[in-house]
């Protein structure tokens, strides 16, 4: 299987080209179009998971903000393709995993080959301050993984110390150490900067490894636009 990205960088879509019998795993609500012979199977776990194993995985994913079900599309009987789009505007990057682990911010996961194992985990947010904790998916195995950004994607090779607003994190390699803190904490905690600086939580990355950031953040955009819309009933 290979994943092709088109219409990057502003409104990218990912086209998964499958050989007969091959399948692709995708985030719910993402399908744009597909060949008519593509079949979809929806299950809680992945291949090889028992009922309980599947249920646990499904629950973990739900907690991570992903849909409960792992949505699997199969090219039945013949080669075919299926096109996926993320929820918001922006770019898509495809990463070929063979060794190592990729940590992907939960709403950035789009689709992956079946050789990729996905596991949801908490990012160690400081729940004392509330707000956005970092919920992430751990991807290991072999094959392609596609993740999307809200806005543009910028790949940063981290060497040393780097600070990123948590809302702008897309993915990073497991070789990086990270620590979530409040804004303005470089040089001691700065209460004023935390509450008034408008940044909320930031992530300090240390060590060396690749980091992908997005040039827009969903909370800021949602709040700005949500304010302009009429109230809802529930």
């Amino acid at each position: 299987m290979h994943i092709e990205v088109q219409h990057a960088p502003a409104y990218a879509i990912a086209i998964a080209h499958l050989d007969a019998g091959e399948s692709v795993v995708a985030e719910g609500g993402a399908m744009v179009s597909m060949d008519s012979h593509m079949k979809l199977s929806t299950s809680a776990g992945g291949e090889g998971d028992g009922v309980l194993g599947g249920l646990m995985k499904g629950l973990k994913r739900m907690v991570a903000g992903e849909s409960f079900f792992q949505n699997r599309f199969v090219a039945e009987g013949a080669a075919g393709h299926i096109t996926f789009a993320p929820t918001l505007q922006g770019d898509i990057a495809v990463h070929e995993l063979s060794q190592g682990t990729l940590i992907i911010q939960s709403s950035s996961f789009l689709c992956s080959g079946t050789g990729i194992e996905l596991d949801a985990r908490w990012g160690g947010a400081r729940s004392f301050f509330g707000g956005e904790g970092l919920i992430m998916l751990k991807a290991t195995g072999t094959g392609p993984v596609a993740f999307n950004s809200f806005g543009g994607i910028k790949e940063i090779p981290v060497v040393g110390d780097f600070v990123v607003d948590t809302g702008h994190i897309v993915a990073f390699e497991d070789s990086l150490e990270f620590n979530i803190d409040s804004f303005g904490s470089s040089g001691g905690f700065n209460l004023k900067s935390f509450f008034l600086g408008g940044e909320g939580l930031v992530c300090h990355f240390k060590g060396s490894g690749r980091l992908w950031i997005q040039t827009r953040n969903t909370q800021g955009f949602g709040t700005l636009l949500g304010r302009q819309l009429p109230p809802r009933q529930s």
Partner: protein
């Protein structure tokens, strides 16, 4: 009348160069800027009854017609959605266009919103399909980039991603239903196209955006029965 589409495909906008007597019809609220030799006339779409029906759907009721009273005029138009603008030349053929994607047309193009199959492509009352036919220019816009597919045989599309298609294609809107409907941004409505013809898709759907924005909207205070 000359046209130029700038800032494609990200935030595309349309610039029209008009000479005396040239006319263009466009969606309300589409004007970005213009030179001073253009006259604007606003009319209700489809007469009073049609307009009232649309008002119930929350859609804008009016269409604007810009006429150049002098030579060398410039009119800049932009759609409401972030995304692309595409130009289609109609030569007596018919194209079906999603209502939110209609941007502007020259006066030789007839835009019909009341044909039999107009509703039924999309859940809810928000969007419907327009029938555009005649001779002239048609400009369509998209949410996201425009992805062109030349259908040969059959093809399944999430209806929330349909911008326009040639009427040489036969279509069948189906509800996927059940748990599987969660996979589709259009709430489970897909359209199976067959035959041969061109299909214009947009790479983003409005329903996922609407769902994303839901928690960001303020909640209406509840009225309790005492």
């Amino acid at each position: 009348m000359q046209h130029e589409i700038k800032a494609k495909p990200d935030f595309a906008c349309l610039t029209l160069s008009m000479d005396r007597g040239d006319q263009v019809v466009c969606e309300s609220g589409a004007m970005v800027g213009m030179t001073t030799g253009l006259e604007l006339e606003t009319n209700m779409k489809g007469g009073l009854k049609g307009a009232l029906k649309r008002a119930l759907g929350g859609e804008s009721l009016f269409m604007n017609t810009y006429t150049a009273s002098e030579n060398g005029q410039r009119l800049d138009l932009a759609p409401a959605t972030p995304g692309d603008v595409e130009h289609l030349l109609l030569r007596g053929n018919t194209v079906l266009v999603q209502s939110g994607s209609y941007m502007a047309s020259s006066t030789g193009v007839e835009v019909d919103a009341k044909w039999a199959g107009a509703r039924g492509f999309f859940g809810g009352e928000g969007l419907f399909m327009l029938r555009c036919s005649g001779e002239g220019d048609l400009w369509i816009s998209s949410y996201g980039a425009i992805h062109t597919v030349d259908v040969q045989g059959s093809y399944i599309v999430d209806t929330g991603h349909i911008v326009a298609f040639q009427d040489s294609l036969t279509y069948n809107v189906k509800s996927v239903g059940g748990l599987k409907s969660l996979l589709f941004s259009s709430e489970g409505l897909v359209c199976e196209f067959s035959g041969s013809g061109r299909l214009w898709l947009q790479t983003r759907g409005s329903m996922p955006l609407v769902t994303f924005l839901h928690p960001f909207r303020s909640v209406q205070p509840q009225k309790h029965a005492e």
